[in-house]
């Protein structure tokens, strides 16, 4: 406890007071920045081509899980359409590039914004309802997107609004991420920016409103919080982040395929967010790794990929019944116990 206080004061002296008030660099954020810096410098050259790809996609789905975590950890809402929204972001990004040829970052932000609007629209019918109906509506949304996108396909450089061509034209990587190594660094940087953006929301007005809504909607409303608006804001933020993830996926692969975005993937990503831990960034990193790297690893040691589902399902039940903060929560709690014991001694 005392140690924590000392650490905070030493940081606050190092920073201008105002920035501390609005956006304090706490220990978890610092740890995040340091570990990502380490990842960016050390890891990419050590990986072979396959695992570079696997890690790029793990980081991308860590970003997507960040959106799920906003709704689940801050508002207690269950969104089962996140991978579908990733698909929306990817679709718009590809469409934008084929139509305009603008730089990737512009297309990415456009895709993210449209995906945010779609996320808000899916959540809208459920604004006047409680948790369960919202979860079900998002599930319908995910299933609906799967059917729509199987019919329309992803744009690959053809004519018309849908832009389907017989031979695909690949969207080029962003300038800063042309090789796989550079792309891994690029997605890591974007992931950190997304986590920080969510953190910024959490520590400012929306975050305070969410905290009150989570405690009691009645109290929130009585204290003048616009419940519907801040819930919708949560959906929009989650959708925006999913859109970023979709754009990065489109950039990494060049073309997208409807088979990447079935409803089952949305469900799985949600389950793994709970298993990994929705309450801090470590959990989200674990989610990304479980979603994409764990199947590859299991495959390497000869375990059938379908059995991973059994493990994930059991993990979800275990997390819901006994470990609400997920694996990350347990790890951090364990570390805290260790340090506490050392101080006590």
């Amino acid at each position: 406890m005392t140690e924590e206080k000392i650490a905070v004061t030493s940081e606050s002296t190092a920073l201008p007071r105002k920035s501390f008030a609005t956006f304090p660099v706490t220990r978890p954020t610092l740890a995040l920045l340091l570990s990502v810096a380490a990842l960016i410098l050390i890891v990419p050259p050590l990986l072979d081509a396959l695992y570079l790809r696997v890690f790029i996609s793990s980081v991308i789905f860590t970003i997507a899980a960040t959106g799920i975590a906003v709704l689940y950890a801050r508002l207690g809402l269950v969104s089962l359409a996140q991978v579908a929204l990733v698909g929306v972001g990817g679709w718009v990004t590809l469409r934008m590039w084929h139509a305009t040829g603008l730089p990737f970052e512009v297309n990415m932000l456009t895709g993210a914004m449209i995906s945010g609007v779609v996320g808000m629209l899916i959540g809208l019918p459920a604004l006047r309802m409680r948790g369960l109906f919202l979860a079900l509506i998002t599930l319908m949304g995910a299933a609906g997107f799967q059917i729509l996108v199987t019919g329309t396909q992803f744009p690959n450089g053809g004519e018309g609004v849908l832009g389907i061509a017989v031979t695909s034209i690949f969207m080029p990587r962003p300038v800063l991420g042309e090789s796989d190594e550079a792309m891994l660094r690029y997605v890591c940087v974007v992931a950190v920016l997304c986590v920080l953006f969510v953190e910024l929301n959490r520590r400012t007005r929306p975050g305070r409103a969410w905290a009150l809504i989570r405690k009691s909607e009645a109290c929130a409303m009585a204290s003048g919080v616009n419940v519907a608006f801040y819930k919708a804001w949560g959906f929009a933020l989650a959708g925006f982040i999913a859109g970023i993830a979709g754009a990065l996926l489109a950039a990494t692969l060049g073309v997208l395929d409807a088979t990447t975005f079935p409803a089952s993937e949305s469900i799985l990503l949600f389950a793994l967010t709970v298993v990994g831990g929705a309450y801090n960034w470590l959990g989200l990193v674990l989610t990304g790794l479980l979603f994409r790297a764990a199947p590859a690893l299991l495959n390497d040691i000869g375990v059938n990929g379908h059995l991973a589902y059994v493990i994930f399902g059991a993990g979800l039940l275990h997390a819901l019944i006994t470990a609400p903060t997920g694996i990350a929560g347990q790890i951090l709690e364990g570390l805290k116990q260790l340090t506490k014991r050392r101080v006590g001694r």
Binding site: L132, I137, L148, E217
Partner: protein, 288 residues
């Protein structure tokens, strides 16, 4: 021409409706929306297919499918659900998602994606009605759905267990204080729901295809039907399921929207949901 699609739509809609009824019965008495419903039926149907391939007589396959589905459902209800009985409905629903993933993983492990067909004796039966040939399976689905919905409504209203189920649906804590044997009544609900899951799994396996993934995610349109009934009303769920099935089937006839016809459940559910809550205000009393 229209008749063929109408009959196909009614049969499909009946499966949605019957699954929806199974979901609603369970939700009303236990507060659990069982997302593993499709997966439970899937394992039953796959087992039936396997037994058929191994040349066992067909009744064995039927019994195995229904028994396995019922057992899975009751096992979850007795062993896992009690740990979550005091959590919010959405947490209970998400937990069944975990169960669904476990069953789906197991089923996919034993039965990899492949073209298969499940044959039931009702396929060879059939009759003509208004120039349309109706197979025994389709007729069976329709009759079973109507009879089950009616039967369950009567059961809830006129038997003691049904009455106790309704008591649980209203206030779980109060019922237990008044001496309602909560766990036993809930077990009945899991049993009924599991049996219906097994039956709908078999029917869907026969009418569409026996494939673990497809059967597991059949639960999504079934949930759409249950949403039409606001997870409460059996007649509305029945109507919702049938309407969804007919709309989905008839859309085949309209060229531009034909590829997207399986989106019908979600469109119908979303429209009805918006319409049903048109006069509601955000309030804080009542339940989900």
């Amino acid at each position: 021409m229209y008749g063929v699609f109408l009959v196909a739509g009614l049969a499909l809609g009946a499966i949605y409706a019957l699954s929806g009824v199974g979901l609603v019965v369970l939700y009303r008495s236990t507060g659990v929306l069982n997302i593993a419903y499709g997966a439970i039926g899937a394992l039953g149907a796959m087992l039936a297919w396997q037994l058929e391939q191994m040349q066992y007589p067909e009744p064995v396959a039927w019994v195995a499918a229904l028994l396995v589905a019922t057992l899975l459902s009751v096992a979850y209800g007795r062993l896992v659900a009690p740990y979550l009985s005091y959590r919010e409905p959405v947490v209970k629903a998400v937990a069944t998602l975990g169960f669904a993933l476990m069953i789906l993983g197991t089923a996919n492990y034993f039965w990899v994606e492949a073209p298969r067909r499940l044959y039931l004796f009702t396929d060879t039966m059939g009759f003509e009605l208004l120039d349309v040939h109706i197979t025994g399976t389709r007729a069976l689905v329709l009759v079973a759905t109507l009879a089950t919905t009616f039967g369950i409504a009567v059961f809830l209203k006129h038997t003691r267990i049904g009455l106790l189920m309704q008591a649980l649906a209203n206030k779980r804590e109060l019922s237990s204080v008044l001496g309602v044997p909560v766990i036993r009544i809930e077990t009945y609900a899991w049993l009924i729901s599991g049996f219906l899951a097994g039956f709908t799994g078999l029917m869907f396996g026969d009418l569409v295809r026996p494939n673990p993934g497809a059967l597991t995610f059949l639960v999504i349109p079934a949930i759409a039907a249950a949403i039409v009934g606001r997870l409460e009303s059996l007649p509305m769920t029945l109507a919702g399921g049938l309407i969804i099935g007919v709309v989905e089937s008839m859309s085949t006839l309209i060229k531009p929207i034909a590829p997207y016809r399986s989106i019908a459940p979600f469109v119908v559910a979303a429209i009805l949901l918006l319409w049903l809550q048109r006069n509601r205000k955000l309030t804080f009393s009542g339940h989900d």
